[in-house]
Every structure is written in C-alpha cells, then in structure tokens.
C-alpha cells in the first residue's frame, strides 16, 4: 500500500521557517516556533528542516559526523529525536514531548502546505 511521506530537499530550503509557524498555528493555535514539531537549523549556507521524531530520555553514547559534499555536519543537527543533549521538540511550559502527527491529510500536512520553495514535498512511496 502506498504510504505518503514527507520528502525534504535541503538544497531548496530557504530557511524562512514558515513551516515552523504553520505547525505551531495548527497544533498550538499560537505563533511560536518553539512549539512546532518541525524546526529548521542552519549550518554554513545550508538549512536543515528536521521533523520531530521519538522522544528519548538518554542521549546517544556515540557521536557521528556526516559528510555531505565537502562539508562535515554533526549528526545531532539532523537527528529527529529529542534528548537531553538536544532540548528541542519539548513544550517549554509543560515539558511535554512533541512529535509530528502528519497532520492535515487530506490534502497536506500544514508545514508542506506553507513551504513555498519545494523543500518539503508530500510523496507516495
């Protein structure tokens, strides 16, 4: 069965963070990137949208570096987990972990709908 999924193209992302707000408006009914289940990081001139994955209460014991082109990135940057090392995807007030729930099908998860650059795309496998 075809499974819709979100494809992320880092080369297209402009770092506008409209996706973060789409998510926070949809789930928290306020504008606040820290309450979004997608966050956009940047390193050098490249932006990395990261969609919230599982919540873990211990950090990894191994550190990974990833090489893309001639740049080396810290795996933590791209990792989807929220952990004590990377305090993202946690509700500031409640400490409640946030996870992407693939909202709004049909037609599109809200972040995809507002991403105008084509960096986020809904595809069917």
């Amino acid at each position: 069965m075809a499974m819709p999924r979100i494809k992320i193209d880092h080369n297209k992302c402009t770092g506008c963070r409209h996706c973060e707000l789409a998510c926070s408006l949809n789930h928290a009914a306020v504008a606040n990137p820290r309450r979004a289940r997608i966050r956009v990081f940047h390193e050098g001139n490249v932006f990395f949208p990261v969609i919230a994955g599982p919540f873990v209460d211990a950090a990894c014991t191994s550190k990974l570096d990833i090489k893309i082109g001639d740049q080396v990135y810290d795996m933590c940057l791209l990792c989807r987990a929220s952990c004590p090392q990377k305090p993202f995807f946690i509700e500031a007030e409640t400490g409640f972990p946030l996870k992407c729930d693939f909202c709004g099908i049909p037609p599109n998860p809200s972040c995809v709908r507002w991403c105008n650059s084509g960096a986020l795309e809904l595809i069917d496998d």
Binding site: R17, N26, H42
Partner: protein, 604 residues
C-alpha cells in the same frame, strides 16, 4: 492583545539599567507599531534639534504587529533615530530573523537611551536581560561579532536560535555613512544609524525567546495566508524573478528604459547590460536563496566568494548595490561589485550612501577639482580597486573616515561643488535616474528619508507595470501614484510586512490577513489613511529639525541637464510640474507645510 506583545524594553546605557513598560493602547491604535510607533515615540521623546551622536539621542528598534505571526513576509523590524548623515528622521528596515525573534523574546520595541562608558552588548536571552562588556568585540566586523558571540554562549543549541543586530567598524568610528547589520543582512535605508549606535558604545543586541504570539482568528488566518502564498506563486515576478535573482533582475529592465545611472549620473547608457545584469550575476556567483522569516519569496541571494585577496560569505549584490557601488562608479566587473557589497556588510556601511560618496569623489577627480593628494586616495571612475580601497579605508582608517566617510554632500561642499553631489537632504540617490522615471523623481524629492526607492515602490508600476502600466516618462497621475505608494510603504513597514509581495499581489489582498491576525476590521482605505498619518508625523519631525520645501528638490543636474545618451536621451525631470499637485494632494500649503485642517483630519 493579538499579534503584539504590547511590551517595550527601555534600556539606559548611561545608568546600566533597564525597565519593562507597557505600550499605551491608544498609540498602537493610532500608529500601529513598527515604523509608525517608532517615529511617534521618537518624536515625542527626542528634541528635533538634538545632536544625533549625543547621549540624549535615542535609538529605537521596533517590530510591527504582524512580525513573527506567520503573515507572509512579516519579518521587518525598523530602527528609528535621527540620522547622523542627514539630520532627518531615519528609519532602517531590517529583514531577516531578528525582528521575529524580538517578538518571541517578548518585546515589540526596544528604546536605547544614553551612552555606555565602554563597549557593551545588550542581550535579551530567554527573559534574562543583561548589558555585558564587549571590549573584545570592538573593531570586529559584523560577521565576526556574530560568530564570536555565539561561540561564547554556553548553550550551543540556544546559540543557534539567537539573532543579532550589530554595527561594524564604520559605526564604531562614528562614520555617518554607517548602517546597522542583522543576521548578516544589510539593512535597507539606514544611512546614519550605525554611527548613532556606535556613539552609544553599543556593539550589538542579541535576542532569543520562548514567548507565543496570539492570533485573533487562527483558522481564517491560516486559510488567508495559504491563499496568499498561492497567489504569490502564480505571479511571475514573485514566483520566478525575485526568487531567482532578487531585486538584481531590475537591472535588465531598467537598462532597457535608460534609467540606470552611470558615472555619478552623468550618463545613462551602457554598451550592454550583459556585464551587469542577471546573466552576469548567475555566472559570477553560486547563488543560494535565503528567506526572511515567513517569506515565501526568499529574494535574498547568499553566496560565498573565494579570491586570493578576498574571501567571504554574504549576500550577492542587489539592484541598489549594483547600481550604487557598480554602475554609478562605472565599475562593471560583477565580482568586484559583489566584494564591495560584502565589504559594506562587514564594515557596516550603507551601500547607497557609501557608493554615492565614492562616485562624488570620482567626479571631482575626473573634473580636475580634487586630486589624489588632497583626497589621500585614488578615485578613478571604473577602477574597482579604488572603490574597494575607499570602502575599506573609510570604515577603518581614522583620517580617511574623517575625509571620505563624512559623505558625498560634505565632500562636494568642501570643494565648493555641491552641485556634483547627487542626493537629496544629504543622502545619496538610489540607482534610478529621476529624469527617466518621473514618479520616482517626485518621490526622491519629497521622501522623509532621502532619495530611497524602498519608501515608495512606484517602480512596480513605472518599470514592471504589475497592476497598471504607467509610462515612466510622463508626469500624468504620478503625484497620486507617489502619494499612494508612500502611504502604503509607511503602513506596511508599520505592520512589519516587507513590501516586495506587492509585485505579485495588491495591497487590498493583504487586508484579510491583517484583520484575521489582529482581530480588527480595517478596510484598505483605513490602513492607507494611517500610513498618511505616519507620513505626516515624519514630515512634522523633519520640519522641526530644520527641513522645509526648499529641501524637496533634486540636484540641478536632473532639473536642467537632459540625459545625454541611451533610450531616455533628452529627458529632464519635470519635478516642478508635479510638486504643487503633490502638496495639494497631501493637504499641504505651497510651502510644503501640512495645513491645520489636514493635521486635524489625521488626528495629529
């Protein structure tokens, strides 16, 4: 309160103290926020005769109510003060992510007062407000400051979310041409503001926060914003041209209409725009799009250059940078223009003001009025190395900063040649020849912030013909056009919206977004009326600061000498045909003073 935080942070650097205040709701009703609020608070609190670099002067950073809410292109933060270059009121438009972060940090506005003993950085991080010593940052370029500041923060993840506005060496040295720089973006239209920030010994402001902004009618807001994104996406300029090249794509269009200045506005013709247009831009730089907060257009083109004598990362040149730093100095090499633009960002110089000053010096030398010995630097038209050297030295070397950094007007006056300074109210012209684009000419003469095209986007009609196609060479309907676009820019800046989306949609299209966000019931006319109130408020301030109708003019060259070459050959600016009608439309006397009944109707 919807959209806004309603709070203002008042920082007194002399005393090293700060205070959190509520912003009076009447002020927000009348002046909205952003530029309007900043100008109102500034004019109420600061004597118009004040010395811009004195400690009594204040510096205001203010984000509009739509900034950070998810409204399209709601990214604009304004910096209001009195310009150290012109003595008029000044208002820089900062894009990027600083403005939104300021709102998330819980403030609409920061008012900076007094002067610190020694260099400091103001940090507002997760509700902790500190004024920290910053001696080790003094003298550093804006990008170094940003990197160093973030490296010094203990929490590396928090550092990723912190946004800075800073001054470069030019601002520190009180060079009047200096501007403020945020997130590595050059602020627009802020010549003279960097020196004010430098005079306060304030190197930078850093913000980060966790606060939420409330939206009045979230469901409707999300629907309206989605529609607007789709609209922008189906309009050619906003979906393609701006996204591919940024404003640099105007170069080809303006070239065809003969409105590109060359050699300090002495000529308008180029052999071929291939050297300096979009083709050259794409061939010279690897462009990467970057958007301001919540902007679907993403007109900012980031790039990196790697030459033996200059390495750096930054913004690829925009239209006004290519015009002011390139064409007007007769420099045609795109790589040199790009480096000049990056030097401006690193040093904290305003590209239009700095380019205009260099062009003035070049003309003085070309005409044999000044020379290498008296200027202590080479200034030859078309010589990229002269340009680059002048930009670097005017920001870093004391003597040069005094001589060249004081700006084109002061330089031309020193040689008794004021007519060779191409600018109005002490500020250099943006790169449109007013003889070939009459509406823009009228705007240049009357703008409260000097001749800058981003305070009235009349070229959207006069060059691009987006909503109505207007002949740039005629004066018919131009006073109306200029007034409408001036008021529109004033209200959009106050709301915190970037003006570029107007290339893809009408102002009316934005009204439902504004209302659903703020819980208001404005009609487009109501908003334009508030824009008009803001424009008049600025005018009143400038009048008290010593500006009157005699300053609403253009350099003699545009009024008397026809364009020598190119498609608009033979044209002069018909300013005197348009100005009386403009005053009349504004409800001002023939002397350009707002009439009592006009002010009363605007509730001023």
């Amino acid at each position: 309160m919807y959209g806004r935080t309603g709070r203002c942070l008042r920082v007194n650097l002399t005393k090293g103290k700060h205070l959190v205040e509520e912003i009076a709701p009447e002020l927000l009703d009348k002046f909205i926020g952003g530029r309007g609020l900043g100008v109102k608070v500034y004019s109420d609190e600061v004597d118009p005769q004040t010395d811009p670099l004195g400690s009594e002067n204040k510096l205001i950073f203010v984000s509009g109510p739509l900034v950070g809410t998810g409204a399209i292109s709601g990214a604009s933060c304004n910096v209001v003060t009195k310009s150290a270059l012109s003595g008029t009121i000044a208002c820089a438009k900062m894009r990027g992510h600083f403005g939104a972060e300021l709102k998330f940090a819980g403030f609409d506005m920061i008012v900076v007062e007094g002067r610190a003993e020694s260099p400091v950085i103001l940090s507002i991080l997760d509700d902790k407000i500190n004024i920290r010593p910053a001696l080790e940052y003094w003298g550093r370029s804006t990008s170094e400051t940003e990197v160093m500041y973030k490296e010094n923060l203990d929490d590396k993840w928090a550092a990723r979310e912190t946004h800075l506005v800073s001054v470069g060496p030019a601002g520190e040295r009180l060079v009047p041409l200096a501007n403020v720089i945020n997130d590595g973006f050059l602020s627009v239209g802020g010549a003279g503001i960097g020196a004010v920030m430098g005079s306060k010994n304030l190197k930078a402001i850093a913000v980060k926060g966790n606060h939420s902004l409330l939206i009045a009618d979230g469901d409707r807001f999300v629907r309206v914003v989605t529609n607007l994104i789709n609209k922008l996406n189906s309009a050619p300029f906003t979906s393609h041209s701006m996204s591919a090249w940024g404003s640099a794509f105007f170069i080809d269009l303006c070239y065809q209409k003969g409105m590109l200045p060359q050699k300090n506005f002495q000529s308008a013709a180029f052999v071929d725009s291939k050297d300096i247009g979009t083709e050259a831009l794409s061939n010279t730089f690897a462009l990467r799009s970057s958007g301001c907060f919540a902007c679907p257009i993403a007109c900012i083109k980031k790039t990196a250059v790697n030459y033996p004598f200059f390495k750096g990362k930054g913004m690829a040149p925009t239209y006004w940078a290519i015009g002011a730093l390139g064409l007007n100095c007769a420099v045609r090499d795109m790589a040199t223009i790009g480096i000049a633009h990056m030097i401006c960002a690193e040093m904290g110089l305003d590209p239009i003001a700095a380019g205009g000053t260099v062009a003035t010096a070049m003309e003085l030398v070309e005409k044999g009025i000044a020379d290498r010995d008296s200027l202590k630097l080479e200034f030859r038209f078309g010589q990229g190395e002269d340009l680059l050297q002048a930009l670097t030295l005017m920001a870093t070397k004391k003597g040069h900063a005094k001589r060249i950094g004081k700006g084109g007007q002061a330089l031309a006056e020193e040689y008794g040649q004021s007519k060779r300074f191409m600018g109005v109210k002490g500020l250099s012209m943006a790169a449109f020849d007013p003889r070939a684009i009459q509406g823009m000419g009228l705007h240049f003469a009357t703008c409260n912030y000097g001749p800058h095209h981003l305070y009235a986007y009349t070229f959207i009609e006069e060059v691009l013909g987006v909503h109505e196609e207007l002949d740039p060479l005629t004066t018919e309907g131009k006073p109306e056009l200029v007034k409408r676009y001036q008021d529109m820019a004033a209200i959009m800046d106050s709301l915190g919206l970037c003006n570029w989306p107007l290339m893809g949609l009408k102002f009316n299209n934005l009204v439902p977004m504004i209302n659903s966000c703020l819980g208001t019931e404005y009609r487009a006319d109501d908003l334009l009326r508030i824009g008009e109130r803001i424009w008049n408020q600025e005018r009143l301030y400038n009048m008290k600061a010593g500006f009157d109708h005699t300053h609403d003019t253009l350099p003699e060259r545009f009024l008397k000498e026809p364009i020598k070459d190119g498609p608009a050959q033979g044209q002069i600016s018909k300013l005197d045909e348009m100005l009386p009608r403009y005053y009349e439309l504004r409800g001002w006397s023939e002397k350009g003073e707002p009439r009592a009944e006009t002010l009363e109707a605007l509730d001023l």
